[in-house]
Point group: C2
Chain length 201, copies 2
């Protein structure tokens, strides 16, 4: 196994475990086992556990940058953006069910990471606010604080995933298939809900 492959192997193994169990609960031994190598190699490549975690996190943040760009940037109409964001977010999660909670927690723990990602993705957080403002001015949507609308969109999209265990247990008989169906239904429902809420009648 040469240098580059081992390094990537470690990163992938650590990523898998960090996402599921977080920094504290993931042990170096676990990561080594997952990668099929010795504990010492982890330190050889990444010096400390914290630095390994930082490396993993950086990779994950780079992955989600395009989604942020699609949502926050560009001049697609806001209704279309909402539909696409909900769709993209849900699809992303189907590929990696534990990712959203992990990313959300990390960005919450250190919002500067989010700032950095947005800058690196060439995204201005204010752009979408100005877009909403413009759509209000033009009479397309009701007068609402653009920041509040933005939070509402994010809340309706992200919350069900953050609260997945609760939602499954209380409302859906703890059934994974029912949850997926529930989420699938939201792809159309969330957009419709928001549009109904802010369209001028």
């Amino acid at each position: 196994m040469n240098t580059i492959n081992t390094e990537l192997l470690i990163l992938e193994s650590a990523k898998k475990l960090f996402i599921i169990n977080g920094l504290e609960k993931t042990k170096m031994q676990q990561i080594a086992d997952e990668a099929g190598i010795n504990k010492s190699l982890l330190h050889y490549y990444f010096r400390t556990k914290d630095k390994l975690f930082e490396a993993v996190l950086a990779g994950i943040l780079a992955e989600i940058a395009p989604m942020l760009k699609t949502f926050f940037g560009g001049d697609t109409p806001i209704f279309t953006k909402i539909e696409r964001f909900v769709e993209t977010y849900i699809n992303l999660i189907n590929k990696n069910p534990f990712l959203p909670e992990f990313v959300f927690n990390e960005l919450n723990r250190n919002p500067e990471n989010l700032v950095r990602v947005m800058i690196s993705a060439g995204v201005d957080p204010d752009a979408i606010l100005q877009q909403i403002e413009a759509e209000i001015e033009s009479g397309k949507i009701k007068n609402i604080n653009p920041k509040q609308l933005l939070i509402n969109i994010l809340a309706l999209t992200i919350f069900p995933f953050l609260a997945k265990p609760i939602v499954k247990r209380i409302l859906l008989e703890n059934d994974e298939a029912l949850f997926n169906q529930f989420i699938e239904e939201r792809k159309a429902l969330v957009s419709e809900f928001i549009i109904n809420a802010i369209t001028i009648k």
Copy 2:
């Protein structure tokens, strides 16, 4: 210091630290320091760290039970319930800013705790769903999956607190006062948003 006071002192100290830092990051030594006593006393009163945590959690869950009862039980109209829930939830958090994330995480980690609290509070999770169903039947509100509406209500209310660091940093110049103002504005805004979304025009 007699038995009862010391026990309460430990519980309060542990509560404070567990809420802010969680189970893993809170050390027994920290709790002892916070309480101004020796580490051994913690074990004397609660045997293990896990049992101490359980005791703290039980106390907190008992605290939030009344709010759940108000929201999920009773036959107040759903619009009124929404307004009151948003108001109650926000006020609760103003008293203890770190509580919602902690409680949310714990209930998510082990939803059986939520089930238990609801039972102990005499609350049937299905009651509010039937209430929504009835209001749809009677033509008061649009046809929407009651479970989806319920999640939307919870999402719009709870999410901003879960995402507080992000919201503050990205939208509100990291200003605590602006955040409080933002939340205050939501007391009316969330209800209005939902009502607009589901009222038949």
